[in-house]
Structure formats: structure tokens, C-alpha cells
Amino acid sequence: MTEDRTPPGTAHINDTEITPEIVAEHGLKPDEYEKVVAHMGRTPNMTELGVFSVMWSEHCSYKSSRKWLKKLPVSGPQVIQGPGENAGVIDIGDGDAAVFKMESHNHPSFIEPYQGAATGVGGIMRDVFTMGARPVANMNALRFGDPSHPKTRHLVAGVVHGIGGYGNCIGVPTVGGEVNFDSCYNGNILVNAMCVGLARTDKIFYAAATGIGAPVVYVGSKTGRDGIHGATMASAEFDDASEEKRPTVQVGDPFTEKLLLEACQELMASDAIIAIQDMGAAGLTSSSVEMADKGGVGIVLDLDKVPCRETHMTGYEMLLSESQERMLMVLKPGRESEAEAIFLRWGLDFAVVGSLTDTGRMVVHHEGRMIADMPLEPLADGAPEYDRPYTPTPLAPHIDPSQVDDTNITDALKTLMGCSEIASRRWIYEQYDSMVMGDTLAGPGGDAALVRVHGTKKALAISTDVTPRYCLAQPVEGGKQAVAEAYRNISATGATPLAITNCLNFGNPERPEIMGQFVECLEGMGAACEALDFPVVSGNVSLYNETNGQGINPTPAIGGVGLIEDYEKAVGNAFTQSNQYIFVLGKTEGHLGSSLYQRFILQDDAIYAPPSVDLELERKHGEFVRDLIDAGIVNAVHDISDGGLLVAVAEMCLPHNVGCHIDDDNTAKFWFGEDQGRYVMVGDDADKILAQANASGLTLTYLGKTGGTELTIAERVHISVEELHAIHENWLPDYMKTV
């Protein structure tokens, strides 16, 4: 829309006639435009069309997904605020609350990896501190294309620098995450950022604006032309020309965000704020529409008061700008000067840009004319809701076990430990400050990160999980597995899983097979959340993750949060001493379909049925593990996931260089199958552990003992831990070094 930078006095953008082409450029379908006209009772002008187009974009309106999101379990005694606010809130006792959400920044990160990833981190932190919380931990879930794709290395480097550049500067530790490489992401990487904050339950801030006449206040950075139509971009497929959209990627300023965080915390300590909302996607438009609509009021804005960093910005541009580090708040009348003093001291802009009305409409003035007058309700809730047609995902066949060769367990283990999916992520996470704030009890590399609630014995356990190849093969099982793995990772530390956020990354929902993946993944997720008492409290949907018609694997990333009352009871996932007994909890059938063994050892790229998840057993196993940790009977626990049992055992050897001896030899299926619901557990008192398992009626298998400098199995397998370590550590740095 650059041609619209008209100086005052010349033709106004609103004088432009709305043509079908202009409607299409705004991403609105003809029938959607008809609805806009009906709601308006007249033809909208350009500014109004712009506002409708972003509010009704997939990104802001969830028009394809809403019907299915409503089916997810969102409540429980621990839930203070479920989906619908800036972030979800759960009760963690003693008047403390954990506030968290995960969000995607996929399209911008593909176009401009540093800024795309950085502003993704900045945006999610604002969502959390808008609620009155101080962010205490960042996580991320990243998916890149095949390592051999020419762009992958550049994207990894840029995204990692961007995440670090933002999070390190603002001083919130990045404590963990997950990374996959798969050719399905070659043209459409996924950058999902999660933030967890802490607040007091009696000091949670919400977006609902109330109080006719109350001042609407703009704080933070100045508004520029960056990010205009970012929400619309995030709601469309990509093609080769998409990189020309670089100007629609926002630019982040973590220093300003740090000041904004401190200033907001200072003002929040008073009672001057009625409502607060960050200006994220669709900027000033969506924040004002959401605040006014949630409060059932109207809003009038005077754009001449908006702090701008560029000249001759049109009202259209100001309303749609996605400039970062900005907040909109409604203050109690008369409290403006007190608030202004705080923001000015932190060197931030502060401007009263409007007030609340009783009209139920959004009215916008600029340069002496009214440039928009729209009913709020249809903007916020009136977006079309689609029940898009979907086709069920065909049932994947089971893998033929006769292909499996049992002779090369050692080679297979080495290959898996150094493959792109399992190799150490140290090159990535050492670029993130994981320790600032002085409460990171367990940072990257564990099953779940552990972050202490400052000044208490409590700690939050946080994990992000999904296995997209399972979701592709059988979305219902994949959806269940993503939730179950988060549950498992949290349980493995000793913490009780409490709630999840999600970031649902899928392809084009207008294709029935993609919509089928979405519907089925959500069905699986919902069942798991229900069975595990692990409700969804916030989330984000990212559709149209396609480039040139190639969709990504369905990737519903789950961010789980749990609580341990006494962090001194928490355990790690590594062998720490010799002569301890190693057990496997759960049945090992040797399921190889959709496993990493299939991908890297059999090198078979057909789609086979993934392992299924027994939710009832999952819950029992989680409770059992937590009870044993609480009683101090086990002192290391690791969940079994990618690569199966032997990979899990090998991973446990690495951190402290403690080997192990496994007594009985077995098949490749046994060692590398990815059957679900299993944990490796280590303890001193074998009898006690066995007795507990018997009493609970659970399957527990004795494997062997820790000790030595090698991982050995009977007489057949001997690998030095040092060699495993080198294989595991070297892949990523070697890969990033290659030009």
C-alpha cells in the first residue's frame, strides 16, 4: 500500500473506490465482502475494509478452526483463565499463578529469520506480561527443512540468533525447546515461541475494557510502517514471490521491550489499569477492537495523537501497522498523569489516544475527518465461521517386521545418536541465556526444564512436544501422543502436569485432506487432555503453512506446564553414579512404524502406522513415576521417545559420563521401537522398585546396572560413552560449519 503515502491535502486513501481487485488483495473472499457490506449497511471505505480484512483474517479470527477448538477441554480446578485472553492462567498454590502461551511466527521467520524469530519471542512475552505476570521462562519449538536443503543452514543460524538476540537482551532465560529437520518444512519453517510468567492470583490483568469515558492510552514504541498486513500474510500460502514481502516483517527492539516490561510492572503495582492488551497481530486495530468488544462498550480513537516514527502515515497504515513493543490500556479516569510519569521515566511514549463510549462502535478520527465508523461486534465475533469439508486420513499400513535386521545394533545406535533428530542441540541452546534470573534449576537438555518460583521451594516444569511424523501417519494417535509426551516429560522430573498451551501448525485448510488432519489431531489431543486432566488454557493456530502447494506435516506443538512442590525432590534424566539398577516401565512390543529407526536405519520413506497411545496406562505410569520420585526411590528418570529404549539409555550415559551394562540381549525392534508410555528409571533399591510396580500391577522390566565407561549389552554390544558423546555432540556444529 506504499502508494497511499499521500501528504495531507491531496487525495485521501478513503476516496479510493473499492473494487473486487482491492477486496481480493485484502484476502477477503467475495462472499465475505458481501457480509462486510451487510454489517456496515453500506460500502466500507478503504480504512474500514483494511480493518475488516485483518480482523477477519484466519490469523485473527480462527474462522476455519473455531468450530474444532471449541471441543477441546479447557477447564479444571487449576484453571483461572482458559483460552480467549492474551494468555492462559493456572493456579499453582499460595496465591501464585503461572501464565503462559505459545505462538507461531512461521511466515516472517522464513522471509527474514532473525527478525521473524526475534519478534515472535517479543510478541509472546508481551502476551504474558500483559496479564500482569513477569516472564520467567521462554521455550521454543522449531522445525526446519532437510539438512541438505540449501536454505536450511541459513535459516537455523538466523532463527537461533533472533531468538537469542531478543530473549538474552530482555533477560528472560530460554530454558528449552525442540528442533526437527524434515523436507516437508523446506519451504515453510516453523518457529513457535512459548513464554511462561508468574503472577499473583489477585493481580491478573484482563483485556475487557469498562467505564464509559475512560481514557484509552497508548504506551511503548512509536508506530511505523512495519508489519502492515502481517496477519493477512500469515493467513495465506507461500510461493516463490513471498520473499518480496520482506517489508511486512516487523523489526524487534528487545531493549524497548525490557523498558516496557518494567514500566508495565510498575504501573500494575498500582490499581490504575482497567484493561490492557498488547498490540500484536493487526496492531492498534485488533487491540482496540478486542478490548472494547470484550467489555461490551464502544471506542473512539484520535489517530493524530498516536506517536509515529514516520511522517505522512495514513490512518489506514496506523491502524494496521504491526510495529512492535506497543501496548494499549484503559486507565481509571484521573490516573493518566501518574501513569505517564512512569512511562516517561522509562523513556517510553505515552499518549491518550481515545476513550470508551457506549455506542458499541469503533469510530476513528484522523486529520480532522472521521475515517472509520464500524460496529464492533461483527469485527470481533462476526467473522465467518467455516465448517470446512474434510476427508479422513487413510489408515496407514503396519510396517513389515521382516525387513528388520538384528545384526547391527551397535551401528544402528551410533547412526541414531548422530542423526539430525537426536543429535545434541547444544550448538543452539548455548546461544540462549538459560540462566538469567537465577531460578533455572534444570535448563535445556533435560526431559522438561525446571524453573523455580522465585523465593519458594516450588518449581515449574515446562516441556514442548509433538512428533509430526506420527501426526502425518495417523493424526488422531499423533495428537494424543503430543499431549502424552508433554505429560510424560513433566512427570519424569517429578512434577505434576497441570495444563497445556498449543500452537497448531497445519497446511491449507481449504484442502479437505489437510482439514482432515486438523480435525483428527484435535480429536486425539482432546481425548488426551481429557484423560490426563491436562486442559488447554491458551493457544494459537497457524494455517496455510504451504509453499507452492507442498504442505507441512501436521505439527500441533504442545507446551506443557507442571508443578513440583519441593524442587529438591526433582530428579534429572542422567545416570549420576555407578551400581544403580536400571528398569523400564511399560511394555516394549517393538513398534517400528513411523520410528526414527524406519527413517534412518531402514531408510524407508513410506508412511506406516505410528505407535498408539493407551491414555489410561499413560496416566497410571505418570502417577507411578511421580510417586516413586516423591518417595525418593528413584533418582533419575528419562522418558522413552525418539529412537526408542536404547537411545534413551545412551542419552542417560552422556551428561555425567557414566556407562551401563545391560544383561540380556534382544532384537532391534526391542531396542529401537517407539512404543509409548515408557520410562527408564534408575534407583539403588531394586526390590523396592519392583515391589512398588507389582503392587500397582504395572509392567516393569529389569535391564541392568549403571557403571563403567561403556554402554554394553550382554556379550554383543560394547560402545564407549566417550564415542557416543562425540557422535551425539558433533553432528550439529559440524553441520553448521559446512559451507
Binding site: 538474552n168 533477560g171 528487545p254 531493549f255 538459560s434 540462566m435 538469567v436
Partner: protein, 222 residues
């Protein structure tokens, strides 16, 4: 012992170090805003880690010119102990209390991890509770920790025992000259160091090697 922590816009380890100082002294440190020109009486002044002024011009250079730093320099010249950690070390080199400069890490990446450090001088007020030559583990977290000075300065620093902390030779995370992790001024009362002792001052966070810096200060200055 009374400590003061200077808070610049963008400081982000101010609370972390305040927690350790309070644990060691039993008293809350003064948190002093960068815009102040008055510094309350203190036995030690701490410049914390972080990204003062966003580190946008050059790390520490804006902070070195903030109003409070005139006071810090005056107090340092009169013998008050000053500890600069990470960004604080960068500020100390920028304001001239310490020689040399902290360049971008040799591999151009931010690095956050534990490092093995050698205590090369245990006669300063900061290191009195460490053994001479002792190896300790303290984490780093920085993008610009690559200490550089000309040969003459480096010779002077090592000749005068002013290299207080160095990375174990095979564990230098940033390419610093002579593996330098921390240096002091000629009086021994101004220490700048890249590693973060406040991040390793309790067993729950992995160890207590950093704690002795704070308890040692109390012993030396009370």
C-alpha cells in the same frame, strides 16, 4: 558491609546479584538508578550484567557516560571496591577504570555455559576465599567477552598480577587474549569479570563456586 547495585536501563542481572549480596551481607543492597548523580555510602559498588541501553552503540559505552558513572569513578579512585560483572566489565573498560576492550566472541555467537576458571590472584578483596591457582566452575553468558589489549598492556597486567581470573586453557569460550576472564586495576579494588558468580552461588543452581566471591567481600570489607 553495605553494597550498592547500579541499575541501567537494560540491566538484567541486577536482581540476581542483589539476591547474592543480600545473602552474604544480611542487608538489602541499595539499588541505584543510572540517572541519579548521588551514590549512597557503600563498601562495594556492583555494575551488573545485562544489556545497558540495549548495547546498541557498543557494549557499555552509553552506560559509561550515564550520570551515576561519574560518581562511581570518583568513589573508585578514592578506594571503594567496584565489581563489574559481564556488561559491568564492559562498562568498566569503557569508562577507563580498566584497560582493554571486550570484542565480539571469536565464533561470533552468544555463549551461555559453565566455564572452568583458574583463580590467578587470591589477594584481591573479591578472591580472598579462593586458593591461589584453584580451578572453579562459573558460567558465562555473553556475546562480547573476547578480551583484547595491546601486548604492552597484557604484559603489564600479567606482570602486576592483575589477571585475577582466567579460563582453563582448553575452555576459553570467546577467544580472549591470555584466556583472560577477569582483571583488576592497579589498586586491586576494581575487578571486571565476564563470568557470572551470582549464577553459581547455591547448590540448587549447580554449585557454590561463585558464592565465595560475595562472602569473601564481606570478610575483606567489613
Amino acid at each position: 558491609m553495605q553494597a550498592s547495585v547500579i541499575v541501567f536501563p537494560g540491566s538484567n542481572c541486577d536482581r540476581d546479584v542483589a539476591v547474592c549480596l543480600e545473602a552474604a551481607t544480611g542487608k538489602k543492597p541499595n539499588m541505584v538508578w543510572h540517572g541519579n548523580s548521588d551514590l549512597p555510602d557503600s563498601d562495594v559498588i556492583v555494575l551488573p550484567g545485562g544489556f545497558s541501553y540495549g548495547d546498541y552503540l557498543r557494549c557499555g559505552s552509553m552506560a559509561a557516560n550515564s550520570p551515576i558513572m561519574k560518581e562511581v569513578v570518583l568513589k573508585a579512585q578514592k578506594g571503594t571496591a567496584v565489581l563489574g560483572i559481564c556488561n559491568g566489565f564492559q562498562v568498566l573498560t569503557e569508562c577507563g577504570l580498566l584497560p582493554g576492550v571486550l570484542m565480539q566472541n571469536a565464533d561470533l555467537n552468544f555463549v551461555c555455559r559453565n566455564t572452568r576458571l583458574i583463580v590467578d590472584n587470591n589477594t584481591t578483596p573479591f578472591t580472598g576465599l579462593y586458593q591461589q591457582g584453584e580451578e572453579v566452575v562459573i558460567p558465562v553468558a555473553h556475546n562480547e567477552g573476547n578480551y583484547f589489549a595491546d601486548d604492552e598492556t597484557l604484559d603489564e597486567l600479567s606482570g602486576e598480577g592483575r589477571i585475577v581470573l582466567s579460563y582453563a586453557p582448553e575452555d576459553n569460550p570467546n577467544g580472549a587474549c591470555k584466556n583472560i576472564a577477569g582483571i583488576c586495576d592497579a589498586s586491586g579494588r576494581v575487578l571486571g569479570m565476564m563470568p557470572h558468580p551470582e549464577r553459581r552461588a547455591e547448590t540448587a543452581l549447580g554449585g557454590e563456586d561463585g558464592k565465595r566471591m560475595f562472602t569473601g567481600l564481606v570478610e575483606a570489607l567489613s
